[in-house]
Structure formats: C-alpha cells, structure tokens
C-alpha cells in the first residue's frame, strides 16, 4: 500500500478570519527562500544612507534681536527651552527657543560688549561686561522694559571676560586679570585666586560640574589653570603651544575637560594627568572659538572662526558633523540644549541659530512604525558602513568653498612640514632626532 499525501495550504490559516482583518503572514527563514538577501540588504543600506542625506536639514530657526555680534550664550539649568544671549552692543536677550520668541530683553545692560552671562538661582541672570561691572537681573516674565534696573551691581577693578555660577551655592567666579570668587549677597569679591607667577588676562572660567569646588580657567598666557575654592589657591597650571579660546567640563566624566584651541584643534584633557591630552579633535580650519559638551557627555559642539559649527563624537577625532549657512559669520559661541537634541550657535552676524543635533532627525511626533523603520535604517547603515558606496555617501559633507580650500591648503602645508621633518631626520645622525608624538607636542610645561 502506498502512502500518499499532497501538499495543501489551508485557506483558513492564510486568509483573514473576518473581512477587514490583516492578512496573516508566514515566515520561512530557509536561505534558499531568500535569494540575493545580501545584495538586497546592501541596496536597502544604500537607500538608507541616501535618505539620511536627503533628509539632512539641520537648520531649524534663526533668532534675531541683537544689533551687533553675539558674544556669549548660556542655558538655564533645569529647563529645556530657555537660553540667554549677550551681544557686543551691550544687550542681553532671554529667548524661549520652543516658541522662538524673546521672553525677556535688556537693552544696554552693559557699556561695550557683554562678555559673560550665566543664570543664577531662580529667575536671576548674572551678566558681566568690559565696563568692569557684574549685574544681577531679574528675568521673570514681565513686559518689556528698556530701562530695567539691575537687582544688584558688583563693581570690579578691571574688565571682566567671563563668569560662571557655582552649581549649588550662591557663589560665582569671574575672570578678569585674576580669577575672583563672589558671593551673590556681598558687594565685593570674597577671594582672589591667582597662580603665583602668572601675569595674564584670564579669558574664561568654568566650575566643574561634579566636583563643584574645582574651577578651571584659561588665559592669554596659553595656560590652563586649575583652582580649588576650598583652599583658595591655584593648584596646577599647564602652558600649551597655543592659547585656548574656550573650555568646558564634561558633565558625565568629571575629570575630563575640553579645550578649544587657537591652533584649530580641540583637546580633551584628563586633569589627573595634564602632560598630554587624551584626544585631539582635528577638522576646523581656523581657530576654534567655543565648545560645549552635550548633556549626555557623548558628544560636543564647537564653533569656529571658519564660520562652521561642528558636532563631534567623544573619542572620534575626525569627520565631525559640520553645519554652515551662507550668512552665518564667525561663530563665537555654541551650546547644546539640555535635552541634547538641539545645538544653538551665536555668530558675528548678530543671529542666534538653532540647529538639530542630528541633521536628519525628524521633529514632531514619530509613530511606532516610523520609529522602527528609522531604527532599522540606522542599523543597516551601521552594518554596511564599510561598503564603499554606503560609506562614501554617509561620510561626505558639502563644505563651503573657502572652508574646503582652506582645508586643502592646510593639508598641503602639514604634509610639506611632515615631509621636511622626515627629510631632516633622514639626514641627521641616527638616533639624534626622534619623532615626537603629536599628543606630546601640545603641552610645553606643567607647573604646580
């Protein structure tokens, strides 16, 4: 007796039970059922990379209001949408970036430029300027008042370059020719901090975010100095090859500090070992004027004299995301918003610009299916990033012609320098001149 059975598909399992139901799907993971799986996945990855570039529209909005270059930006701790900007015309504006409106505006806060800006407790804003004054403002919502009086004025002896508020106490630090610590309730500085042998102009000062009594400053002496307000002393100081223009403490890794240098690079230092930087970040083609960590501590933003804003991944020293527009001039300040989704830049053309931190991110509500599709595309891009075409598409960025040419020129010059150095070494006696690692060249001396 022969046993016979013929393949049958029961319609009841493969057709929707009721009209309107989705058709049931069935899967068979046998590789023979999926010819060209790899080639098709590569095409999908290629499309994902292309879509990513197509949807890369990072510019969100431009906030106007200043009549001169924007010098300084700061965000309000504990909020997502409030930022303040200070300008060369002496005006201060508090922006609501969610509504893209001015929530408060102080005209002529200082004579000359506003050089430092920082939120104090509550709705109070501290500003300092080159007119040797620090002013405390009340910026709780109120009608616009051009002749607003400050709550308090702290008079100094020399022009201030920067100020930063203590994380928890009612203290703030200022940078002029020395670093001073002030109490909000007292009219004179409570202590002066200075390195014994230094006679420099301090350009910026920042409190550490975790070790709240530790303070870092940079100065015109090409120096980076560490202070402790508990001892009231400058602890350590390093002199570097070129001066730094901005510094920022990592929010998640307390010993890590980021310096934006005049030599077009950014450096992260571990303050426990200041003899060489941890990482060098190279892409700017002009001095870097500002830098700030993202609240996640995984990336940071920098703005430069080359009129670009760049967003870097921590630990990846090249190929940052680069933002530019035709009308944006030199970027003098750049910050991340507290939700790490946006980047704010202030530039010489007097505008404050809002950018997305991820260029192709979609704003607004994203449905679950869309989210799944986006995640699938991201993983495809990651998986196929070594493919020639996929990698090229996701790597390439358009640069403005001057920036592109400057980069070319810079590369040529560095190459020539390196070749010259190599030749020189080849023609000196063996062992006489050893190549020096790039990281060892940065710091000249360390002082304690």
């Amino acid at each position: 007796m022969v046993k016979i059975s013929v393949l049958q598909h029961a319609p009841s399992t493969h057709l929707p039970a009721r009209p309107g139901d989705p058709t049931p799907t069935s899967r068979n993971l046998d590789p023979l059922m999926h010819p060209f799986a790899r080639a098709r996945e590569r095409m999908r990855a290629l499309n994902a990379a292309k879509m990513d570039r197509i949807f890369a529209k990072p510019f969100v909005a431009s906030l106007e209001g200043h009549i001169d270059a924007v010098e300084v930006l700061c965000k309000k701790p504990g909020t997502v949408s409030t930022i303040a900007s200070g300008s060369w015309d002496g005006g201060v504006i508090v922006h609501n970036i969610a509504e893209q409106k001015h929530s408060h505006r102080i005209q002529g806060a200082h004579k000359g430029k506003v050089s430092g800006l920082c939120f104090a407790d509550g709705d109070k804003l501290l500003s300092c300027g080159v007119d040797c004054n620090i002013k405390l403002w009340d910026v709780s919502l109120q009608e616009e008042d051009s002749q607003q009086k400050p709550l308090n004025v702290f008079a100094g002896k020399s022009p201030f370059n920067s100020l930063d508020h203590h994380r928890s106490d009612r203290l703030f630090a200022t940078a002029s020719n020395i670093v001073q610590i002030w109490d909000e309730t007292k009219s004179a500085a409570i202590s002066d901090l200075t390195f014994s042998t230094a006679t420099e102009t301090v350009t910026s000062v920042r409190f550490n975010l975790a070790e709240t009594s530790v303070l870092g400053s940079i100065g015109s002496d090409r120096s980076f100095t560490l202070y402790d307000i508990r001892t009231g002393k400058a602890e350590r100081r390093v002199i570097m090859q070129m001066r730094s223009n901005a510094l920022s403490w990592s929010p998640t890794f307390p010993t890590s500090v980021l310096l934006a240098s005049e030599d077009h690079n950014l450096y992260t230092f571990d303050v426990r070992n200041l003899s060489s930087p941890l990482h060098i970040y190279k892409a700017h083609v002009a001095p870097v004027m500002s830098c700030e960590w993202s609240p996640t501590g995984l990336e940071f933003v920098s703005g430069g004299w080359d009129r670009t804003v760049r967003i870097w991944k921590e630990g990846r020293g090249t190929n940052p995301e680069v933002y530019h527009t035709k009308r944006m001039q030199r970027v003098s300040s750049s910050i991340f918003t507290a939700d790490a989704r946006f980047v704010i830049s202030g530039s010489d053309d007097g505008n404050v610009r809002i950018w997305k931190a991820k260029a192709s991110e979609r704003l607004g509500i994203v449905t679950a299916r869309e989210r799944a599709a986006i995640e699938y595309r991201d993983s495809l891009k990651d998986r196929w990033k070594h493919d020639q075409d996929v990698g090229k598409i996701s790597r390439t960025r358009h640069l403005p012609k001057p920036v592109y040419q400057a980069a070319q020129l810079k590369r040529t010059m560095l190459e020539a320098q390196r070749v010259k150095e190599e030749r020189r070494r080849r023609h000196t006696r063996a062992g006489q001149s050893k190549p020096k690692a790039e990281r060892k060249k940065i710091v000249l001396t360390e002082q304690t």
Binding site: I4, L7, A39
Partner: protein, 535 residues
C-alpha cells in the same frame, strides 16, 4: 578590538544558525509525499487516479486537463504560484488564477507566439511573438512593443533585478530593465538562433543552450559568456537549474535524446547522464529538487539524491513518477511554486498532474505569498523597486557582495623597500607601481635624437653647435611629433602606442630602402607566399 569584533561576528553567525533551526519548528505546513512500504512496491506504478484519490478533496484540485486548440502550448506560473499564463503557438494567450478559475485576460493574437512570462507579478506579462516581444497588462491591454527584441524565442524575467531577458533567432541575448525601460545589455552569442534558455534563480545568471551543443552562461556586465561548455552533440533543447541546492546543479537535454546533470562548481563532465525514449526532452526542476523530464509521450519525474549523485553508467536514475500524455509534442513542463503540481504543455492544451513532494510547503510572505491581497501586492511592488539590485551586480558568485575585497596585486615597494607610503611617492614612482608608466616613450625619444645625429654625421661630419641645435629643432613642429609630444604624459595610451609603432615601421622601411640603394642589402625576391603576408 578588532579580534573581539570578528569573534562577535562568529558568535552572531552561530546564533543565527541555531535560531534558524528553531524557526524550522514553527513551519506550519508539511510537504507532500509518496511512500512505499516495501521494495516490491514502486511509486512510479501509482497512477494519477490513485494519487488524486489519496490527495483528498482539497489536494485533488491540482489535477486538471485543459483541452485547447492552437497548440502546442507553453505555460508559466507567477512567482507565488497562484496565477498561470499560457500561450499557444498560433497565438492564443490567457492568464488566469488557476485556483479560483478567474480569467484575467484572454487574447487571440493571430500570429506565432513562442513564449510567455509574467513580469514582477500577475499584473504584467510579456509574450514572445513573431517579430517582437510585447508587454501586456493584467487585462490584456498591449502596453509596449519591445522593438529591440527581434524574433524572440524564449523569455526569462529576473525578479530581483527587474530585467526581462530574451533570446531569439538572431542569436542576441537582450536584457531590458522593466522598471526604467532601458535596454541594459545586448550580447551577441555568435552561435546562431537560440531556442533554449533558463535562469539560475539564485544568482540571476542566464543559461543558454545553442544549436551546436554548447551551453553558455551569461551576465549583463560581460559581453562574453562567463562559462561555456560543450554539453551535447547536436542542439541543446532543454535546460533547467536546480533551485533546491541554490543553483548548484544544472540539467540539460539534447536533440540526441540524452539528459545530463551537471555540477555547476565543476564542469568537468556530467554528474549523471542517460538517454530518454522518444527524443527531445523538456526539463524542469522543482523547488524541492524533483526533476521532470517530458519526452516522447510521457513525463518522468526523478527525485533528489539519485539524480545528483555521480554515477558512471549511462542509465536513467530510479523513477519516482511517470505519466503518459498522448498528445505529442510535449513542449513545456512547469512546476507550480508552493504546490505539488506539474503542468505539462502539449499539442492539445495543457494538463496538470499531481507530483507529491515536489513543492515547497512553507512560503515566506515577504517574498511570495499565494494568498496576498491587493494592498500587499502593491506594497511588495514598491518594496521590490526600492530593493532593485543594479544589473552590474549579477555574477556567478553571489556572495561577493559584502565580502572582503581581494588583496591588490600592486605593491608600493620601490627597489624592494616599503619605507615610503604610496601617497608620498613621486609621481613617476606611483605610475610605475601602478603599472602605468610608459617606458617605451623615453627609449623612442632617444632613438629619434640618435637618428638625426647619425644623419648629420653622414652628410657633413663636422657641424657647428648652432647648426646641430637648429637641425635638432627642425621637424619639431610636425603635426605627428607634436601630437606625440603632447601625449607625453607618462601614461600608456593605446593611440600613442599605435602611432609610435607605425613611425617605427616607417623608419625601418626607410632604413631598408636606403640599405638597398647603397647595396648593403639585397632586395627581397617576391615569393608565392607573399599573398598570405599581413600588411
């Protein structure tokens, strides 16, 4: 870091394998089968009546006879196995859903039609007609006349590349991109009219069988066959590639009545061959690896392990199933995807028989779904277009995508030393390393200078320096020399090389003529063999 990553990949691959085995447990449907209890019983003795009886109510729907005029008929199933397109040689074309019996289109084209194929799904089909290939939509409205495909005999559609391949009496293999409408490639096979074509579904290589017994494998990006083998003595009439082993085996049949099974990894001799009764045989492999051979007045089905095992004697493998069809000639055999059905086209129409165990029981809805609705079909079409693989990527080895690039044969060693990276080598060295430097150029230039010097010496021994310089300069403005000078880029350029060779030849002729004039050489006597000399 690197090793840990590779280890991760290895672990991932192993995990994927076990997951795949787990997933097999979830497969819902069982394959059909025919089993005997002892050696005395044979499955081929079981006739269709018995199979139908054993198949039950649902399964017996596959056994059908379509009595049609205007044969012999050829047929083609859509990729999900739900729709059938048939074409009679005198121009009767029909497409229909064979399960429900709904006819989509029925046409009387009133000219010779040689083949039919569905495009991406049942909504389009292409017919190889007397002069050209025509594309029709689901309702039978003529959409395109593909004038580039002249006198086509066979059609194949490559679904993942969206290519319609045709071959015809002119001996040209043409690829038409059905999504953009462009003619992607046309290859002259140089083997005359071609009446046999098959595709390998796993690497989209087209197999052609020629009149001279040669089987050739083609890809769009190569103008010559990737593989060419002399398979039969006399014309090749049937070809099919085994989908159950990822295209590893190919079966071919010749007009001499032999059927051969080939291993596509090693073309040295057939794995197995036998002679059929009744001559010309049509072939088709099923998804589960059953080979149907239609020859003379019957269809024989052979199953897997025996047809693919090397076996020297030229005897037919053990028969699995046989069915007599009394309407010669049998012109096509097609297995229905995801069913145990074999459709035979013959002079009096078509007959479908049940071949238990030949079909893949579990379909994957993302690839082909027999139960798909209108929306799913649309979505699949769009997804398929997005995932369309460029025709250049068709190659014998599909796994080259995503694999490591082969190590380059170029080396940056200068004088066997690697101390300078490629980017920092001087340009001449870079060209030398790349194999592009033109070494002949320098030698040629020197020779020219030498020649002029010699001439100068021959005429008047002593020349002032100015005069030599002057002589040297002369002739520099000649158009050919100027051209050559401008081409002096240290890159081998075929035209420049050709011109240089020509100049060399002329110089040699002049030298010989001069020598003859002086009496140093004897002129060559004309010979009878001169007529064969290449000028």
């Amino acid at each position: 870091m690197h090793t840990s990553k590779t280890l991760n990949y290895a672990a991932h691959a192993a995990r994927a394998k076990t997951l795949l085995q787990d997933a097999e447990l979830l497969l819902a449907d069982d394959a059909g089968l025919m089993q005997v209890e002892n050696d005395m019983e044979k499955t081929w003795r079981v006739g269709q009546d018995e199979v139908v009886k054993g198949a039950g109510q649902e399964g017996s729907g596959g056994r059908q006879e379509w009595k049609l005029d205007g044969g012999p008929y050829r047929s083609r199933y859509s990729r999900n196995g739900r729709h059938l397109a048939i074409v009679g040689s005198t121009g009767h074309v029909a497409t229909f859903d064979w399960q429900t019996g709904t006819i989509h289109a029925e046409l009387q084209l009133q000219e010779t039609c040689r083949d039919i194929t569905f495009l991406q799904d049942q909504s389009f089909f292409a017919v190889a007609q007397k002069k050209y290939v025509f594309v029709y939509d689901r309702d039978g409205v003529e959409l395109h006349r593909l004038k580039a495909h002249i006198e086509p005999t066979r059609l194949e559609f490559l679904p993942y590349h969206w290519l319609l391949a045709s071959v015809g009496n002119t001996g040209y293999l043409k690829y038409q991109d059905t999504s953009t409408g462009l003619l992607v490639a046309e290859h002259r096979t140089k083997a005359g009219a071609c009446r046999t074509m098959a595709q390998n579904r796993h690497n989209a290589v087209i197999h052609l069988g020629h009149q001279n017994g040669v089987v050739s494998l083609w890809t769009p990006n190569l103008s010559h066959p990737t593989v060419q083998l002399l398979a039969h003595l006399g014309p090749v009439v049937g070809l099919s590639v085994d989908p159950s082993t990822g295209g590893r085996y190919m079966a071919s049949s010749g007009a001499d009545g032999t059927v051969k099974v080939w291993d596509c990894r090693n073309w040295k001799g057939a794995v197995r061959q036998w002679t059929t009764r009744g001559g010309v045989a049509e072939l088709e492999w099923s998804a589960k690896g059953a080979l149907a051979v239609a020859s003379g007045g019957s269809v024989n089905v052979y199953t897997k392990p025996s047809i693919q095992a090397p076996f020297a004697p030229k005897v037919a493998p053990p028969l699995y199933l046989t069915h007599p069809v009394p309407h010669r000639p049998l012109t096509s055999v097609r297995f229905c995807p995801f069913q145990d059905i074999l459709t035979i086209g013959h002079n009096a129409g078509l007959s479908s028989i049940l071949a238990p165990g030949s079909g893949e029981p579990n379909f994957d809805s993302t690839e082909a779904d027999p139960f798909e609705g209108k929306k799913t079909r649309r979505e699949r079409e769009v997804k398929g277009l997005l995932d369309k693989i460029p025709p250049d990527m068709i190659a014998l080895d599909v796994d080259f995508v995503g694999s490591l690039a082969p190590p380059t044969k170029l080396t940056t060693a200068v004088n066997d030393k690697h101390d300078v990276p490629f980017a920092r080598l001087p340009r001449l060295e870079r060209l030398r390393v790349q194999g592009k430097v033109d070494e002949t150029e320098l030698e040629g230039g020197i020779e020219v200078d030498d020649n002029t010097n010699e001439e100068g010496d021959g005429n008047g021994k002593k020349q002032s320096k100015e005069e030599r310089e002057k002589r040297k300069m002369r002739g520099k403005g000649k158009s050919v020399k100027r051209y050559l000078r401008k081409q002096r880029k240290n890159v081998i350029d075929p035209t420049a090389v050709a011109i240089r060779a020509k100049l060399e030849k002329q110089r040699e002729e002049r030298r010989v003529a001069k020598a003859i004039e002086k009496g140093e050489m004897e002129p060559k006597k004309p010979s009878a063999l001169d007529r064969f000399r290449r000028s």
